[in-house]
């Protein structure tokens, strides 16, 4: 466990007060409507607010809000790479970094990247790499930094969407936008785009088929660039879940395209009078 010697963080053994709750954590029902009014067993994603071009210093940036999940992404590059490997001579390198603000989750996290953050960064990298035309940027490095401001569920899926939007805003050549969608399987029913409560506190009604799945999808090419699942599911449920996530991505596509077009139009110079 790396120790942070630069910041004074308070007592070592501090704990979140939610551990001392007298009553047990409310168990979410596994049937009936969801807490925020959406439907289960249907591709009901949260309405999404996206904007590009927030950070003036970055080459490209994007901000996404879905329900209470808020995250922003900045893209820097293409820049000259420091390491001169033979592989860098032929195509560029994409580095991704995903961080959680310590106040983003209900329990306070730390600023040092834990193994979970590194895992998310790796997943983000694997999801974005097939979409970016790295062969057009030899000897360069493109940096993608995602910062999660508030984690209210489905954070990886939205990070993937935000990062691909920021890459497009930066003018990096891509084969297609990458969209992310996630699903939580709870017994026989599933919920698309789960909130934090739905992700972590599942109903213990059935012990089978409890798991989560995140898919990164390229809509026009019909390719899956990222897939991650955990929990326990049968293969049929997994396959059905992947299909549902793909549908969720198709639902999100027009919104993202519109946001991108708006940003480009705003940045373009006004048409000349003559």
């Amino acid at each position: 466990m790396p120790v942070d010697t630069k910041r004074v963080r308070g007592p070592e053994v501090s704990q979140s007060p939610s551990l001392f709750l007298g009553r047990p954590v409310a168990v979410l029902p596994s049937s009936g409507p969801r807490a925020d009014g959406r439907q289960r067993d249907q591709v009901d994603v949260r309405p999404v607010f996206v904007r590009c071009g927030l950070v003036s210093q970055a080459k490209g940036s994007a901000y996404i809000e879905a329900g209470n999940t808020k995250l922003m992404c900045c893209v820097y590059g293409p820049r000259e790479t420091e390491r001169k490997d033979e592989t860098d001579m032929k195509c560029g390198r994409l580095t991704t970094d995903m961080r959680f603000a310590p106040f983003s989750c209900p329990e306070r996290g730390s600023w040092i990247q834990g193994s979970q953050d590194k895992d998310f960064s790796l997943m983000l990298h694997e999801s974005l790499q097939p979409a970016v035309c790295l062969h057009k940027y030899p000897r360069s490095q493109i940096e993608v930094n995602v910062m999660v401001l508030e984690n209210s569920g489905s954070v990886l899926a939205h990070a993937i969407t935000c990062a691909s939007l920021a890459l497009a805003d930066a003018g990096i050549e891509m084969y297609d936008l990458v969209l992310g969608c996630s699903i939580r399987q709870d017994g026989a029913s599933y919920v698309v785009d789960p909130s934090y409560m739905e992700e972590n506190y599942s109903s213990s009604a059935s012990s089978e088929n409890q798991g989560g799945l995140t898919v990164a999808f390229l809509p026009s090419l019909n390719q899956i660039s990222g897939l991650q699942s955990d929990g326990e599911m049968t293969e049929e449920i997994l396959t059905a879940g992947v299909r549902t996530c793909i549908e969720g991505c198709y639902k999100l596509y027009p919104v993202i395209q519109q946001a991108l077009a708006k940003a480009v139009r705003k940045a373009a110079p006004p048409p000349s009078e003559s």
Binding site: S115, Q210, G211, I224, L227, Q228, D230, E232, E235
Partner: protein, 291 residues
């Protein structure tokens, strides 16, 4: 992962062979290489196993220690995974070079075991909220020739089967404090039920077909792989796509189905072999590391 350079002509050769279900070493697309498993190789651990899959060699040591349970689940013990890519395997892993790969492997192992049924965590509890067994599963990569996930998961399953956790007795002394006593008999120990421990199957997409247990050359010809961890009942506990390429949804469905089939078929012979080795007891010939 250690990589080899493969020329274009070699790539075409491997691709065409796999298209006709014939790999470079004569295997079919869903065949494993020769696998050797030996348990109880390190005497200082509570359980250990060494697995050699072709030229890949992995050593797993499990140590059980008494610790404080996690605050959110006070009546369960837990497992901690750590994968060390030793510089013995390839010079790329010297210093901190192997850290990236090691973290990736450990994180996947956490996900694979992140469910209620793989290991019975309640049996690892000693005193709810105060003491529990923590199993430190340490994986050491000795040689790297592709297909690390599969070898590691088989080694972990064998090591967990071999783990002997000493029995403890809790006694309360005069002031009401609890005292833990380890039993004196070294053979009085608790064994773990590894029926539900999953095995990981890695499927590499080469051309239009997928192969199981790819060597480094075959890996260099593939753009993406799918890792799927399957229990003996056929439930999938973790899937993950690795590699810098993208996959068609149809190939993902095909690969999941093939992975489930191959993974399910791996468990029965493995358990039989482990039980056979256990029965040999003192008569077992120790092969060790030079065999």
């Amino acid at each position: 992962m250690a990589t080899v350079q493969v020329s274009e002509a070699e790539k075409v050769y491997i691709l065409h062979g796999i298209r006709d279900d014939l790999r470079v070493d004569g295997r079919g697309c869903e065949d494993y290489r020769h696998m050797e498993i030996e348990t109880d190789v390190v005497s200082n651990t509570d359980g250990s196993a060494k697995v050699t899959l072709g030229h890949t060699a992995v050593l797993v040591g499990i140590k059980a220690e008494i610790g404080k349970p996690r605050p959110t689940v006070p009546n369960e013990g837990y497992l901690e995974f750590f994968v060390d890519c030793s510089a013995n395997a390839t010079p790329e892993f010297e210093g901190r070079g192997g850290e990236g790969l090691g973290t990736e492997l450990s994180n996947t192992l956490y996900k694979v075991f992140n469910n209620k049924h793989s290991v019975d965590l309640k049996s690892l509890s000693i005193c709810a909220g105060e003491h529990c067994w923590v199993l430190y599963v340490d994986v050491l990569l000795l040689q790297c020739d592709g297909n690390l996930y599969d070898a590691i998961s088989v080694a972990i399953k064998a090591a967990l089967f071999n783990t002997k956790i000493p029995r403890v007795h809790i006694s309360t002394d005069e002031e009401g404090g609890k005292e833990i006593e380890l039993s004196d008999d070294p053979y009085d120990c608790m064994r773990l039920n590894v029926e539900n421990v999953p095995c990981i199957v890695t499927l590499c997409k080469v051309g239009h077909r997928h192969v199981v247990d790819a060597t480094l050359q075959e890996k260099a010809c593939s753009v993406a792989s799918l890792i799927i961890s399957v229990t003996h009942k056929g439930t999938v506990t973790c899937t993950r796509k690795v590699g810098g390429g993208s996959l068609d949804p149809e190939s993902i469905f095909e690969m999941t189905e093939a992975g489930k089939r191959v993974g399910k078929a791996l468990h029965a012979p493995l358990m039989k072999l482990l039980q056979q080795e256990e029965r040999l007891g003192k008569k077992k010939q120790k092969v060790g590391f030079l065999g």
